[in-house]
């Protein structure tokens, strides 16, 4: 064995040498490691040191056991009993979190399914209150002339009604959460939002332009230039409410956490 230069040893594959010292290599790897050990004094010293450390570890003395771990009847009673802390210790934090999320999600879904609770889908009630002609005019993308009312329909902001003298209906628009986006609309439409709006109950202003010229907006087709409100998971009226979306998400995540936690727990005990 010849002494090695430091730079040479630094370039040697230490993982290979460590694997060799543990007897984990076979075939070509073992031959490569053997060559390193035969040709490099530092690699040979490393192997000897690792084996010496392993041998010393195996004979490491054990400190005396200071207590008896047998269970008393009281211990056994407590171990078999129920307490919230033990329940969570036993179940684990991950499944507990999962169960909590799933429960919250279920509650949210229940709330979202109650009609008139305010948490239901926005679409139905709002769309019902809209005159169809107004809706049609509002949805007309090519209504360059005439007075169109930018009423929201199908979750789309009618920002494309360029040149229209339009009045948004706050009492209708606001609950639906579909305010026309002035920034996204063409410049001509931007002035429309400044017009005062009569209330829906007093009679929605009619579109001055011919309604027939405007294609009826499909409830499921958002218009170009439309912009859903932030927080709305679905850009369409009649779709699931944000609460329902969030609840469903919580349930899915909760179930995944529950399954993961129980699988991990089972693997750790069996």
């Amino acid at each position: 064995m010849r002494p090695s230069e430091p730079t040479m040893h630094d370039q040697h594959d230490l993982d290979l040498v460590v694997g060799y010292s543990a007897g984990d290599l076979e075939g070509a790897e073992r031959a490569d490691a053997q060559a390193l050990v035969d040709g490099c004094a530092d690699c040979a010293l490393l192997v000897a040191d690792l084996r010496a450390i392993a041998a010393a570890t195996a004979t490491l003395p054990v400190p005396p056991r200071g207590r008896d771990f047998r269970l008393s009847p009281e211990d056994a009673r407590r171990a078999r009993g129920w307490s919230p802390r033990r329940f969570f210790d036993r179940i684990g934090i991950v499944p507990s979190l999962g169960a909590g999320l799933a429960a919250i999600g279920l509650a949210g879904l229940l709330l979202a399914s109650i009609p008139g609770s305010g948490a239901t889908s926005f679409g139905a009630a709002t769309t019902e209150s809209l005159p169809r002609s107004a809706a049609g005019a509002a949805a007309a993308p090519g209504a360059a002339t005439g007075t169109a009312i930018p009423l929201p329909l199908s979750g789309a902001a009618p920002a494309s009604s360029a040149g229209a003298t339009a009045a948004p209906l706050p009492d209708i628009v606001a609950p639906g959460g579909m305010l026309p986006s002035a920034s996204a609309a063409p410049s001509a439409a931007a002035s429309a939002v400044t017009a005062p709006a009569p209330s829906a109950s007093a009679g929605t202003p009619r579109a001055a332009g011919p309604p027939a010229a405007a294609p009826q907006a499909s409830p499921s087709t958002p218009l170009a230039g439309s912009q859903p409100l932030p927080g709305s998971a679905s850009a369409t009226f009649g779709g699931p409410s944000p609460l329902a979306d969030v609840s469903l998400g919580a349930i899915v995540v909760g179930i995944v956490l529950l399954v993961l936690g129980f699988v991990r727990r089972r693997r750790s005990l069996v």
């Binding site: 450390i53 056991r65 211990d75 750790s268």
Partner: protein, 219 residues
């Protein structure tokens, strides 16, 4: 690759009394039969049967955990919690080696304790810092060798306390407890490659920590 010198997971507590491979298998069978009977009785509510299991395995589990958890008080808590957990989860035992089952529960308890220990650091292996404490001496021990052995024990224990808990657990299970790579992978829930990597890198880390004191281990 399994090391042939390694013992089976169900090896008897006093393996030194085993005369040969055939005898070991016979004793292993007897041990497993005994353990199954005790488990069944414990499941039916017999606390004495469970405590018989504790008596059989508490020394082994203590020696396992006290090497994984440097603070003996916390190691004791981990072993006690492991036996509590085993008692609560008797129904989850599905056959096989009781020793391996208990060892796995102890490893989990030890890892839990070490997670807490990271938040509350303690003096590792305080009894090794105490000069009055010495490892059990054999009849051949002489004072000089005892001093060297004590110093080596202190240095190695300190180095073990400074590597990662995962590496320490793998090294203790392999080098001290004699489990093979497959058994350690099953116990710790990681792949075979991860077990090897932890052992290799742990030994390399130990060598790095002990670099200045390697003369204690050479020759």
């Amino acid at each position: 690759m399994d090391d042939p010198r390694r013992i089976d997971a169900g090896t008897v507590p006093d393996a030194g009394a085993v005369p040969d491979a055939g005898g070991a298998a016979t004793v292993n069978d007897a041990i497993q039969r005994r353990d199954r009977i005790l488990i069944e009785r414990a499941r039916s509510g017999d606390l004495d049967a469970f405590n018989d299991l504790v008596t059989c395995y508490q020394d082994q589990l203590w020696s396992l955990v006290v090497r994984m958890v440097p603070d003996p008080d916390q190691a004791g808590d981990a072993v006690q919690e492991a036996f509590f957990s085993a008692y609560r989860n008797l129904a989850s035992f599905r056959g096989g080696s009781v020793r391996s089952w208990l060892s796995r529960i102890c490893i989990n308890a030890a890892m839990d304790v070490q997670r807490l220990r990271r938040r509350r650091p303690v003096q590792p292996y305080p009894e090794f810092e105490d000069d009055t404490w010495q490892p059990p001496a054999g009849p051949e021990a002489d004072p000089e060798r005892l001093v060297v052995a004590a110093e080596r024990t202190r240095a190695l224990s300190d180095a073990l306390a400074r590597i990662t808990p995962d590496q320490r657990a793998a090294i203790v299970l392999f080098d001290v407890e004699g489990y093979d790579y497959h058994e350690i992978a099953a116990m710790t829930g990681v792949s075979l490659g991860t077990v090897k990597s932890r052992i290799h890198r742990g030994r390399l880390a130990l060598r790095g920590i002990l670099d200045e004191r390697m003369e204690l281990f050479r020759g």
